[in-house]
């Protein structure tokens, strides 16, 4: 199924979780992996009921994460939800067999009634290369070869393929096939322009992660992506862009900063070994900063500004990083459903002429 974004419906709004499993800095306590996974499924259910468009789960194999088997978690999400699209953010395609990934996500598509998507990335932390038996020196080549094989499996039910990192495929029928015949497959892009260029060259949809910084920087990356796509014979108008980043809503921006900062700072210390500088975080509430943190009205204005600058089709919010208590996530979803989503949809919808 080709991705169809209906401009009449306005900007799509989704949630993503990396599946991190970290202590709540307020208490120092960490819930069990079992509870964390149940809460992720519950979060997806609430997002679905609230009318959000998209929910996705990440794959990380390092300590401090619980969704290594993200496709399995997603199948539970699919079963628990009705409307919302279900995806990975991201599947680490470099260290996976694209055949198995496709089998998993095509199955997810059948379970969910055609709601599955794949976002394929190459991992920011590289411990999983050793864990899964890959050589870090092949970091770039593994990603490109496996990503392209995944695209080929999506295009062709019967695959003939030969490459460096996997046994050849001869007249191989990759089954099951998804409901619409193909799956939406996106490329995950982090902070480097080089990655955006590569996505543009391949002419595949791009999910752009942005932790913080000026909208103008990320606009530059999106522009480069679309220009590169056009230079390589792809129609940028048919290539959706999704942006992904931190989100937290509270009564005021000051309260939002106060509530969220310890989670981001302490969580990043554990997962990356460095915290998030407070000075940079404080700038997050600026209307031209990509972090969607603030009061409902401030967030609406930020998202509308980002939409105007980026022209993206989908925004996905990360609101659960670093042991955020579940009640807080519930509150976020209530405010999204009650205030943010109606306004965002209203003002990003292309009026039927």
């Amino acid at each position: 199924m080709e991705l169809q974004f209906d401009a009449n419906k306005g900007l799509e709004f989704g949630l993503y979780t990396l599946g991190d499993h970290l202590p709540d800095p307020a208490t120092g306590r960490r819930i069990s992996a079992e509870q964390r996974i149940q809460e992720i499924i519950q979060l997806a259910t609430l997002a679905d009921q609230a009318g959000l468009d998209f929910f996705s789960v990440g794959e990380s194999h390092q300590e401090g994460f619980a969704t290594q088997a993200h496709a399995v978690v997603l199948s539970a999400v699919a079963q628990a939800t009705r409307q919302i699209r279900v995806s990975s953010t991201s599947t680490i395609i470099s260290t996976s067999d694209p055949v198995r990934v496709y089998e998993n996500f095509a199955t997810l598509d059948l379970i969910s009634g055609g709601r599955a998507e794949i976002v394929a990335g190459r991992a920011s932390r590289i411990g999983l290369f050793e864990l899964l038996g890959y050589d870090i020196r092949d970091y770039e080549d593994l990603y490109e070869e496996k990503f392209e094989l995944l695209l080929q499996i999506n295009r062709e039910e019967v695959v003939n393929w030969e490459g460096k990192f996997r046994a050849p495929l001869r007249e191989a029928r990759i089954l099951p096939r998804p409901v619409g015949g193909t799956l939406p497959i996106w490329r995950a892009v982090g902070g480097s322009v080089g990655s955006a260029v590569k996505a543009g060259r391949l002419g595949v949809p791009m999910v752009l992660a942005h932790l913080g910084g000026p909208v103008s920087s990320f606009k530059g990356m999106i522009d480069v992506y679309r220009e590169t796509a056009a230079e390589h014979g792809h129609d940028p108008a048919k290539l959706p862009v999704a942006t992904a980043g931190f989100f937290h809503v509270a009564d005021s921006s000051q309260q939002a900063l106060r509530e969220l900062y310890p989670h981001i700072n302490e969580g990043m210390k554990i997962t990356n070994g460095r915290g998030f500088p407070k000075q940079l975080f404080a700038q997050g509430v600026d209307p031209h900063n990509v972090m969607n943190i603030g009061s409902p009205q401030e967030i609406i204005e930020k998202i509308l500004y980002q939409h105007e600058q980026f022209g993206m089709q989908r925004y996905i919010a990360q609101m659960d990083f670093g042991g955020v208590p579940f009640e807080r996530l519930q509150h976020n979803i209530e405010v999204i459903a009650g205030e943010i989503l109606p306004a965002v949809r209203k003002y990003t919808r292309k009026e039927a002429a």
Binding site: S124, I126, G127, Y139, Q254, N272, G273, R274, P277, K278
Partner: protein, 188 residues
């Protein structure tokens, strides 16, 4: 505060001698702080390969994590071929971008020739600036003749090292207070 004194060479003895003196002086006169001496010659270091510093194991992981956990880094480096030694550059390469943010870094340099006395300005300070260190601007430049065996026999060098320590501690204290003040302003 956590202080790491790093001897950034695996050859020769001058840098190690100056590093030892610095670490011992700190332990003796500033016992309230936690001082660790890391002499690269004593560790089996791997080359940086781009992974997160938390993913290095053994000595390499220990060195990277000790530096990341420190508040003050006192760096000793000789000058080789008009630059810092590869082993020291490798230590920087293990670290993430902005690794030295909120850390105070002081330098003591040993060299066989006075002709090298501006090398730290053009070779070492740009690296430290890139990593966002608060640099103690004045460094201690030590020549061969100030050593006898492994001892520093030049009183002027001892005094300058003591002032480097004093400046680093003072700056670290001041920056910590600035952060506190800023934190109050931020209110989160």
């Amino acid at each position: 505060m956590k202080i790491v004194v790093l001897s950034g060479s695996i050859a020769g003895s001058k840098t190690r001698s100056a590093a030892r003196y610095t670490a011992e002086y700190l332990q003796e006169h500033y016992a309230e702080h936690e001082t660790a001496l890391i002499d690269l010659a004593e560790y089996a270091m791997e080359f940086a390969d781009g992974r997160n510093y938390l993913d290095y194991r053994g000595d390499t992981g220990m060195v990277a994590q000790s530096i990341m956990a420190s508040d003050i880094l006192l760096l000793g480096s000789p000058i080789y071929q008009a630059s810092i030694p590869g082993v020291l550059k490798n230590v920087f390469d293990l670290l993430p971008g902005d690794a030295l943010r909120d850390k105070v870094v002081g330098m003591f340099i040993t060299a066989g020739s006075q002709r090298h006395n501006l090398i730290p300005e053009i070779q070492l300070k740009p690296i430290l600036s890139y990593l966002k260190a608060h640099i103690v601007e004045t460094y201690v430049f030590i020549e061969e003749r100030s050593f006898q065996g492994s001892s520093i026999v030049d009183d002027d060098v001892r005094f300058r090292l003591q002032r480097l320590i004093d400046d680093a501690l003072t700056l670290a204290d001041v920056y910590a207070r600035v952060r506190e003040l800023k934190d109050e302003q931020y209110g989160f």
